[in-house]
Symmetry: D3
Subunit: 334 residues, 6 copies
Amino acid sequence: MNKILTFGEIILRLSPPGHRTMKQSHALEFFFGGTELNVAASLATMGCGVKHVSCVSDDFVGESALAFVKSFGIDASFITRNEHPLGLYFLEVGASVRASRIAYNRLNGSFANIQSGKTDWKKALEDCSYFHWTGISPGISEAAYESLKEGLKTARAMGIEITADPAYRSNLWKYGKSGKEVLQELVGYSTIFIGGVNEINEILGTNFSPDKEGFLKACNELKRQIPSIRKIFDKIRIGVTASSQQTQGRALANGNYFETGFLEVNPVVDRIGTGDAFAAGLIYGLQHFDDEKALHFANAACAVKHTILGDINYSSVEDILEVMNGDSGGRIKR
Amino acid sequence: MNKILTFGEIILRLSPPGHRTMKQSHALEFFFGGTELNVAASLATMGCGVKHVSCVSDDFVGESALAFVKSFGIDASFITRNEHPLGLYFLEVGASVRASRIAYNRLNGSFANIQSGKTDWKKALEDCSYFHWTGISPGISEAAYESLKEGLKTARAMGIEITADPAYRSNLWKYGKSGKEVLQELVGYSTIFIGGVNEINEILGTNFSPDKEGFLKACNELKRQIPSIRKIFDKIRIGVTASSQQTQGRALANGNYFETGFLEVNPVVDRIGTGDAFAAGLIYGLQHFDDEKALHFANAACAVKHTILGDINYSSVEDILEVMNGDSGGRIKR
Amino acid sequence: MNKILTFGEIILRLSPPGHRTMKQSHALEFFFGGTELNVAASLATMGCGVKHVSCVSDDFVGESALAFVKSFGIDASFITRNEHPLGLYFLEVGASVRASRIAYNRLNGSFANIQSGKTDWKKALEDCSYFHWTGISPGISEAAYESLKEGLKTARAMGIEITADPAYRSNLWKYGKSGKEVLQELVGYSTIFIGGVNEINEILGTNFSPDKEGFLKACNELKRQIPSIRKIFDKIRIGVTASSQQTQGRALANGNYFETGFLEVNPVVDRIGTGDAFAAGLIYGLQHFDDEKALHFANAACAVKHTILGDINYSSVEDILEVMNGDSGGRIKR
Amino acid sequence: MNKILTFGEIILRLSPPGHRTMKQSHALEFFFGGTELNVAASLATMGCGVKHVSCVSDDFVGESALAFVKSFGIDASFITRNEHPLGLYFLEVGASVRASRIAYNRLNGSFANIQSGKTDWKKALEDCSYFHWTGISPGISEAAYESLKEGLKTARAMGIEITADPAYRSNLWKYGKSGKEVLQELVGYSTIFIGGVNEINEILGTNFSPDKEGFLKACNELKRQIPSIRKIFDKIRIGVTASSQQTQGRALANGNYFETGFLEVNPVVDRIGTGDAFAAGLIYGLQHFDDEKALHFANAACAVKHTILGDINYSSVEDILEVMNGDSGGRIKR
Amino acid sequence: MNKILTFGEIILRLSPPGHRTMKQSHALEFFFGGTELNVAASLATMGCGVKHVSCVSDDFVGESALAFVKSFGIDASFITRNEHPLGLYFLEVGASVRASRIAYNRLNGSFANIQSGKTDWKKALEDCSYFHWTGISPGISEAAYESLKEGLKTARAMGIEITADPAYRSNLWKYGKSGKEVLQELVGYSTIFIGGVNEINEILGTNFSPDKEGFLKACNELKRQIPSIRKIFDKIRIGVTASSQQTQGRALANGNYFETGFLEVNPVVDRIGTGDAFAAGLIYGLQHFDDEKALHFANAACAVKHTILGDINYSSVEDILEVMNGDSGGRIKR
Amino acid sequence: MNKILTFGEIILRLSPPGHRTMKQSHALEFFFGGTELNVAASLATMGCGVKHVSCVSDDFVGESALAFVKSFGIDASFITRNEHPLGLYFLEVGASVRASRIAYNRLNGSFANIQSGKTDWKKALEDCSYFHWTGISPGISEAAYESLKEGLKTARAMGIEITADPAYRSNLWKYGKSGKEVLQELVGYSTIFIGGVNEINEILGTNFSPDKEGFLKACNELKRQIPSIRKIFDKIRIGVTASSQQTQGRALANGNYFETGFLEVNPVVDRIGTGDAFAAGLIYGLQHFDDEKALHFANAACAVKHTILGDINYSSVEDILEVMNGDSGGRIKR
């Protein structure tokens, strides 16, 4: 009854090893990920029951993706397959003053061609208490948008908690719909908002400032316009360089404001998926702790993910609690 | 005045190292190739002047592809770029009784979206004596078909020798046109046919047998229906296992029949691109030798390619002549 | 109701890459395996429902082993954990005239210290129709022997088909019990014997010859002494060199003798786990085909495993049927 | 006459490359090490004559360990072999806020089963002036404890300088003896103590504070209770994060107190073996410099080891002197 | 008419992966480079037309070097080949307090044996506006010195801008000539001096101080003694550790003094070729910007090169401008 | 008293991994070897006492070479060092019909510049019964020739058995002396000739045929002209392809003719050093067996070396005896 359902693309990441550029390489390390799968895998690693709904290719690349999902113990029985290739992206990892670069190949892939109407959402959601989605999925294709909406409607009707991470990406939304409108619509089904001033301004077309006051105003405006939202959790990331980052969380939950201190990570091993680690930490926290501790736990999960290669946060609850409690490395656990 | 122009997709091949499956891997070796580029690169390695016409992505993957093309000294100034991702495929390499497997991602890529009308074919062809094309390109998309037809028309009008390798692949031709009809049309612009009974049956809808008599009948029927074809060169490959192959060539050129003996390759290092090595060897041979020697040279080029990793035949003319002359390895060249 | 339960060690294999010796290496490729897990994973890959009962270490090595097991969709809920290290072995892979070498570290590991009495065998077996065991497990430790016997007794009482692969390994059986006696006892719970003249001679103390006549006599003597055995399936492997192998199967099932032809594999990619591939193919075959076809399927599964790196046969049913039907490679599946 | 004898396990370290976790890897980099061998190898690299006494497995893993030891020019003629597997450990390397993790497999290995009474200690020690031991060895097994005690007794009788690094590890001492009592007994044979307040408190059951005053009190109490100890050298390591460390040395030698400044290392390449580098630097320093310079040299050796992969300090005397003299990198030595 | 010609050795760099020492490795990563080729390749990457004049071995190592040069689109038609081996060096990469180490093998290589009188300098320079050289080339051999002088004389006569980077390396100059005298002579052909107080002191035998006042005095003395020099651009690099560097530029150009702020790079990925990145950035800047902006651009190019593996700066103009404008990483470019 | 002294270059081999060409690689696997060191290392691996006399570079490359030599337990105390770079070669490994290619860089290296007069040959040889040399060393440089002659003279005077492997390589002998004359001179100091009709024809300027009759005539003529030679051992290698080889030995020893059958090796892992494995096997055999068994042992050593990566035969006496006795692989030694 306490499972978490996630919905989204399973994407293949291809990256030259070390800090090489693609021109300097003959091989690419690969990782499976995808913003919502990252949340799913982190939650499963923390011991939660998780289901992931998606669509992968019916070739050996899709088979490998499925094996990866199953290795976490995630329930993959609602993942369909079609004849389109698995979405993927190339990543050149930056360092210090050099930014990382990504080249996508996802707009005509298996997930972009997911068929709505084929998922038995009632059954998928029957033992779930959380549904997590992000703004990436509806930006990929109309089909993905339709599928997601189906799920959200069903979940809403079943009274399930819905966490929305409505990140807007300008390199998506090529299929004709407006990101602003779609995200506003879909947030309307949700109960917990994972995002801050930027995301609220993007969705509402407002112009709040990023300071605390602006955050509070933005939150209140969001709740005014979309009353289903009860709690708002925001992560703030200060990128000193590509190799050094600071993370902080703040929240307005049921009228109470919380914030965490800054956690510093230097050097950064991998920046991809750190927001997803925050979301997973938050959902775990909301299931096990009070709102304030959930925020601190999410922020620590986000920080520790920066030290882990690939898209997924492989940390256990204990690992994250250590970071949250300030035991920030330097030891060897024998 | 003696350059060779090739037209076709530049495709990225991604393959688990050794004989691993993708499930067993965390990295993929990559190679740039593409059936017509393979011909171009082999010809450039043999010292010919070569131009390649194509379209690649405007991201760092496309940049890497261009650097690869240029590293051979191939003229890349007629390669355009667009915002679609570079076509690619995944390859699991078989061994012995286990077949290799390929999963494609090319039908919505940069080459599939090549814009016809943007290549100045007259200028591209002005110092060329050969134009090489294959049946892969027109099978990818209507845009690729249109671009190719433009080039063929111009080349034909300029009296340039046109080599056609009209391989039919059933996993292409998804855009609405019939492979049979298109290939028949495009072979109609060509002067040299690289293919045998299978390819002729495919294009003409005939049913000739694969023996010598069937080959001769098929050739004559092809020449009857498509009189522009003056010479037909065929490679025969007997795959004993995924690790052991035999190659042979036969030809009907200006009324004369030739054939070579079998060359055995065991173990096979890489089977991809062996037909392209044949085509490149043939074009080189036609430029430098008589038809019969050209066939033997092409067959040796095909054999030696089986021992080279990746899509490209990196052999020099001298290397190929050694194999052609029966000096089949076992030595160390100090 | 048609699941298969397997019981045995999950072992870590560590091997220098390529044909390197350990002295020439700075890294070791690793694979999880174990003779019974190999059977489980192959069956799961073929689409069967599988449960594996074992015990792994409670450190990150054991975690990785569990993730591996789960990636196949195998039910891992009956795998316990303890504070002993995961069993492992080192493998230097031979070639041609050079034999492979193995160095074990398993006799004090987590599986050797598995606690009997902690597995709810009734529950584990409730939806199973097959129980598979081998002679490796009871040779490792008394604890492993006791656990296995518990399971066999329960399965026998529930009328489940029990497949015994009683390979005798002289480098085991260090804990005081006689391999011959234990294996005889445990075969006594079994219904299907996977082995031939060598194994029967070992267990019964007989001296039958390896030819067909000897095989039939040995089988009949085995059935006489151990009447629970109804069918006997034997694989014959002729190792020409470390790089070239031939496999054949023969069987006496319900009074009928069958045999297959020889399948040749050259080059061999990996010899480990080929017997387990036979056993998995056999169990799949017995569930889906008649006895004779099951034998041919098992032999083809054994052959194709020689071409796959690691301990596990990653082949699908379709892959194996192709080899069984003589379509022995050389093609590329696009 | 001036050789150094070390006694201890040769252990195999297995580690995923880069910052990968084991779940994300298919290969493990390996290094031979072991706390006392690390001291031996560093001393040999600095040009000292060194003998190492140990026991390794009689398989190819043990052979590789021996070749590694010999590659330093260390005298390996007192290393015996037995049928038990070589001890090993797995290491997941942390980064920044993420701690490193170790999983051991050593308690039933070849060194744990070393046979006392088989080493001709008189002969082994005949040209030695130093004997170095640590608290790891007697914690592994009673056999290792007995062997070490034999050696210490002989060395003491021969008037050899004995350096004790009595690190107490709670994950050892599983065989029934108390670490505190054994270490107290063995320090009683020693003349130089490498350790500080923590180690003294552990052995004596005292509770001195870690500041300078506590250090001096602890040293005096140690010398009071164990009068054979003439000098005490302590390293202090401040782990800012897993990627950033600071080292300092302090000493009470023949009544004089010395301390060094802090040396900062960022980023840390490898933390394992840094204490052993300190010990080796100290022994070298005691043989070639005065006590104070020896401490500074040891501290610099410890710092520079943090920048070297593996367990061993590959630095030359010149390399260490440069760091000691504040020439802390940034140049390229051409 | 606006091409840049560079002259110098193409050298092969061989380096253990990661921070390994050669003793710890079984493989060496390789990169082609060479101080002047680094400038050429960076300029070509920025879109400039570049020719490189050199001599490589007539074996497959030389072939690979040529393919590398051509991959940038650099005109390689003035590169000759001879029977001597390609020059090379080994690099052990340091970290933090550990310095990097280089071992050269270049003094008897193909470039050292370049034949003067074989380059048609007039033709090579006919469409060039810049000629770049460094003090490395004339230090390698008399033949290299003579070839360079030929080129400089021709360029000077044609009124081409000549940029001199007269770094003095004490491990060169083994063939009998004095570095000081030769560099003074060759700077006499040049118009732009890339270097600072150290280089000027080296060439003139003066003793100016490294502060701003000393710099200005040194520049004026250089211009007094060598009046062909119109502009002097200097890079200052502060090596905090092997992993952390700061760069600054200053210049005296046509009587005006400029300086940039410090750019910090931490961690450093690769220090080799950072001076060459400065030179390439400067030449690009002089062709496209005013002197002051050229200096800032050169300094940013130098900084960003520290984050790129190998000898070559693969950055685009846009990449460098971002760093110059203070957008120092931390983002991901999607 | 029964040690073996070898003299010759320690050379670094650099090779693209797998069957890659250098153009397709970014890394080179490396191995230390050298024809006489290969003999030394194989003998040491078989348990013999071995000394190697050579000269290596005084940089970290030379240090690594020394560590490699010492790892075998070879006495390296007669290896000097100088400021010249270590000799090296590049190897592209062929396959099947494609030959391997080598590019050398050794003629100006540390061994080519070995200083004669610096080795105390008396001391070096005092406990030796065999001195092994090959025709490579005197072909490298006059200095190497002079050093070798010194050693041979001393050994001869001391009555030590001298094994000559006078392979003539046309890519050496660039320093002015005639290979034929020098080899004739040096064989004059030797007692055992390792070579056959080709080598004898090369040295004597004769023209014997390669059949048995020619072999016997050539041997007798060699013994007539150079009476110090008492035994002649020849290896015959039939290279079917680069991947398949056959080896045979024949000998005329003290008037008796012996020959072995053919041993087939398929696939070949590494052809380099197979002649050296024969020589080492022969010397071991002569020390432990009669002449005929020595020949069979040498032939088996040669065969098994083809299956081992690198220049060195890592086989034990037991491994070689197994191959000699026809136990040609296919098993796994557990």
